[in-house]
Each structure stands twice: as structure tokens, then as C-alpha cells.
Symmetry: C2
Subunit: 238 residues, 2 copies
DNA sequence: AGCTCTTGGACTAAAAACAGTCCTTTAGAA
DNA sequence: TTCTAAAGGACTGTTTTTAGTCCAAGAGCT
């Protein structure tokens, strides 16, 4: 959409990869931490397994882990039953202050506005196993009891959990990726006192709707829920 | 969603990259050709520019181009005003016959069922420039006059054009990628006599709805339109 | 105390990918 | 005809990434 607006659709001629393996690995790990996929004090898989999962050599993975370690995100214990742990100390945001770009903000909000409500509706329609139901409820209760510090990763985890219930791998990937981009944007604006109570009411309502198979409500409340973050971000575009 | 269904959300611990740069570049170029982004006899950007766009070194790009060249997809002319051209001879599908996997099929259809209708609705709501309107109409007329051989790439091009109108880069990327996955699936089933007339009616209806700003109709017809391909593919799942 | 097994730590040689430079071709302009 | 500039073609040296191997730590078991 940028330079030569139409014609040979240049929007598809984008970079095939996001950077070198080292950078991508750091980025990816940082995302999983910030998204709360691995909660503080939780242990990461062993290096050999993690390297294989990420499709990267162990040497490269170790470079990335080392970087994250001396940036304070990870702690390492050697020996049997040792491993790499997510730092329990609150991960301090380095107050990144690149300015918000309108196009980037709108793109993220728009895409999110499509896939998250769809994920909620689909999950409500899906046949949920007992384990799935329990997983959702656990994510919800962890989120409900979150403090302003722990809120964001648990929020991400909850919304990703919803996508997981839908049973679509693509959807999970899209939601997780979009959340990560959203978090990057949120990192660039001052932290305001979010209305946690209101958000939690909506979260509960969404979870209930999904569990009782009410797709319409699940979708509607999700849309409403997203509007909060959307107007917050748009407010800083000025 | 695969091994350890929930808990530390392993769905996000996926490979950070799809393969080595060489393979990814081939894959990507092949997609743009199969999607009809570059129509037969059309000229690709010069190697230096293309390499930069794809975020890959010229050496790697050239390896990939060479491979595609002696696979018959590309033709090269040296000298000033020369360049790399998409073979005008119909690209013969090598009749790939890996079997369809139910999970893959359902995942693609489901994700597509989310983003394409959303793209149509958004485009209908968007303020379209004259160039944008014309681009859509041109893609439509090219599609309408397509033969069974040229139908699929033009179809992809039309649907990607719709995503482009929405103005969201993420959406364009998602639609293009999903179309490519869909084409891979379609390559694995025998070509049937598609009901081109019916599809073309729907295409025209979608385009009209978008141009007159009727989001509801654009979305509804898109959903109906997708059902054709969906049931075709599902029919081969046995 | 000693053993054992899982895990992080360190090194090497080979392969992949890169940036940079120069050569060759060739249509059109001078 | 000659020159020029834009394109593909080819080579070189460097950096990144990899696979593979071995070492070191250390919790828990015998």
C-alpha cells in the first residue's frame, strides 16, 4: 500500500524474514515472556528442546538467551534439575519512546478488531473438552486477581487462551502476534490507571458466554472490550 | 494445540523462520507467481531492487531465481531493458499428490472465512480513491474474462485487491498468505469444472457492493462465495 | 560418599548468507 | 556508428548459522 499503490501488488513483496536468526530469536523469546506465555519464576524448556522448537541452532539460541539473561529477563541455574527461569523481579520496561505512528496503530487495532471477536465467536461454537473449559477458567481467575503490574501479560494469556479454544492454529498465531505488536505500542505511552474492574467484568462476561456456547454475546462483548484499548491508544496519536 | 494441549502455551513456541533463506525465497517468489501478483509475460523488478524488498542478499535471490528459471517459471533477458520475466507458457502444475490433511484444510478454510469477509466489509466502509475503484474494476474484468486455466491466479488477485482497498497491510498479508496455502491445497485435488458463471456473478456482486459502500452485502456474498471452495475441498477429505 | 543423569557451557569445522566489486550484455540515445 | 546506462552474471572475502562433540555443574538416589 505504500509506494506504488496498485498495479503489481507490491504489498506482497515484503521481506521474507524479519532479520537474522539471532535477532528473531531474541524478539520471539521476549514476546513469549511479555505475553505471559512463560510467567515469572517459570522454567523454560531445556535449551536443546527449545532450540529445536524454535527451529534454530542451539548456539544461536544460547546467544539470544545470554542476551536476555544479562538484560535481566532470565536467570539460569546449572546442573541437573537446573534450567533457565523467567526473572521473578518485575520486568521493568525500558520506557521505549519511539513515537506512535498512526498507520501502525490503526493497522494493529483494525486487524485485532477482526480476529479477536472472531476467535471468541468460534470458541463459543466449538465443542469444548473439560480440560479446555478448565484452562479458560484458570486464565480468567488469574487475570481477575491481577495487579496493575501483572495485568497485561495475564490479559494477553487470557485472550490467547480463547483463540486456542477455537482450535485453529492460524488464529492462535495471528492473535499472539497481534497482541505482541499491541504491547509494543502500549509500551510507548505512559501507563494510565486502567479501569481494571470494568475490564474484568467484560472478561468474565466473555468467558461465560463462551462456556455456555453463546457466540453472539461472546463476539459482541469482545468488540466492546477492545474499544477500551483502541480509544486509549488513539488518544495518544494527536 | 498439538502435544501438551494447554499450560505453557506451546502453540506460540513455533519455529521463528520457515526454513533457510534460499528455500524461503523460492517459496515466496513461487507464491507471487501462482497468486498472479506477477502475471505471465510480466517483468519482475530488477534483481537488486527485488533482493532489497525481500530482505535477502542478491546472491541468495539469484540462486532462487536460477532455480525457478530452470524449472520453467521464469525467463531471463540480459542487457539494458532486459530483466526477468514470468514464463508466458502456462505454468504446468507438477500434480503434487501429497494427501490432504483434515486439520490443515479446516484451518485454512476457517481462517479464510474470518479474514476475507472482514476485508470485503472493511473495503466497503472505506473511502475509496478513484484509482482504487479503477483497480478493483480492472481486476474484476480480468477475472470475468478468465479461462479455466487463468482463473485461479486472477481470482487470487481479485481477492487480494479487495484486501488492499481496506487499507490494512496486515490484512493484505494475511489474505495473500492464506490464499497461497489454499492454492497448495487445491493443487492436490483433481481439477473439476468449476462453475465459473456462478462465481463470476458473486464476484461482480461483491465488487458492486464494495463500490457503493454496502458492507453488509459485501460481507454476506463473500461468505457465500467462500462456501463453494470450502465444500469442494471438504469433499476430498473422505 | 559416591554415582548418575539432566542440564547449561564451551569449542570446532563446515555450510549458508552476506556485502561489495567488477564484468558482460544490449537497447536506445547522441 | 559510438556511447551510455540499466540490467543480469560472476567472483571474493567476511560474517552468521549450523551440527556435532565434549566438558562442568549439581540435585537426588543408592
Amino acid at each position: 500500500m505504500q509506494d506504488s499503490p496498485f498495479g503489481p501488488s507490491y504489498s506482497v513483496l515484503r521481506p521474507v524474514r524479519g532479520g537474522n536468526a539471532f535477532e528473531e530469536t531474541i524478539e520471539h523469546l521476549l514476546q513469549t515472556i511479555k505475553l505471559g506465555i512463560f510467567a515469572p519464576s517459570e522454567k523454560l524448556p531445556p535449551e536443546r528442546e527449545l532450540a529445536e522448537r524454535l527451529g534454530v541452532s542451539r548456539a544461536t539460541l544460547r546467544d539470544a538467551l545470554g542476551e536476555l539473561q544479562n538484560a535481566g529477563y532470565l536467570e539460569v541455574q546449572r546442573g541437573r534439575y537446573g534450567g533457565t527461569y523467567v526473572s521473578s523481579s518485575a520486568v521493568q520496561r525500558p520506557t521505549e519512546s519511539r513515537p506512535l505512528e498512526r498507520a501502525e496503530v490503526e493497522d494493529v487495532l483494525l486487524f485485532r478488531g477482526i480476529i479477536e471477536p472472531a476467535a471468541a465467536a468460534l470458541s463459543a461454537k466449538a465443542a469444548l473438552t473439560a480440560a479446555a473449559r478448565q484452562h479458560l477458567q484458570q486464565c480468567l481467575s488469574e487475570l481477575t486477581s491481577a495487579t496493575p503490574e501483572t495485568y497485561r501479560p495475564r490479559d494477553a494469556r487470557f485472550h490467547i487462551a480463547i483463540a486456542e479454544l477455537s482450535g485453529s492454529a492460524s488464529l492462535v498465531g495471528a492473535v499472539a502476534e497481534t497482541r505482541a505488536r499491541l504491547n509494543d505500542l502500549l509500551d510507548r505511552i505512559p501507563r494510565l490507571g486502567t479501569n481494571l474492574e470494568h475490564a474484568n467484568e467484560q472478561h468474565a462476561e466473555i468467558a461465560e458466554a463462551i462456556l455456555r456456547g453463546d457466540a453472539v454475546t461472546a463476539e459482541r462483548v469482545t468488540v466492546e472490550h477492545l474499544e477500551g484499548t483502541a480509544s486509549l491508544l488513539r488518544g495518544f496519536l494527536a
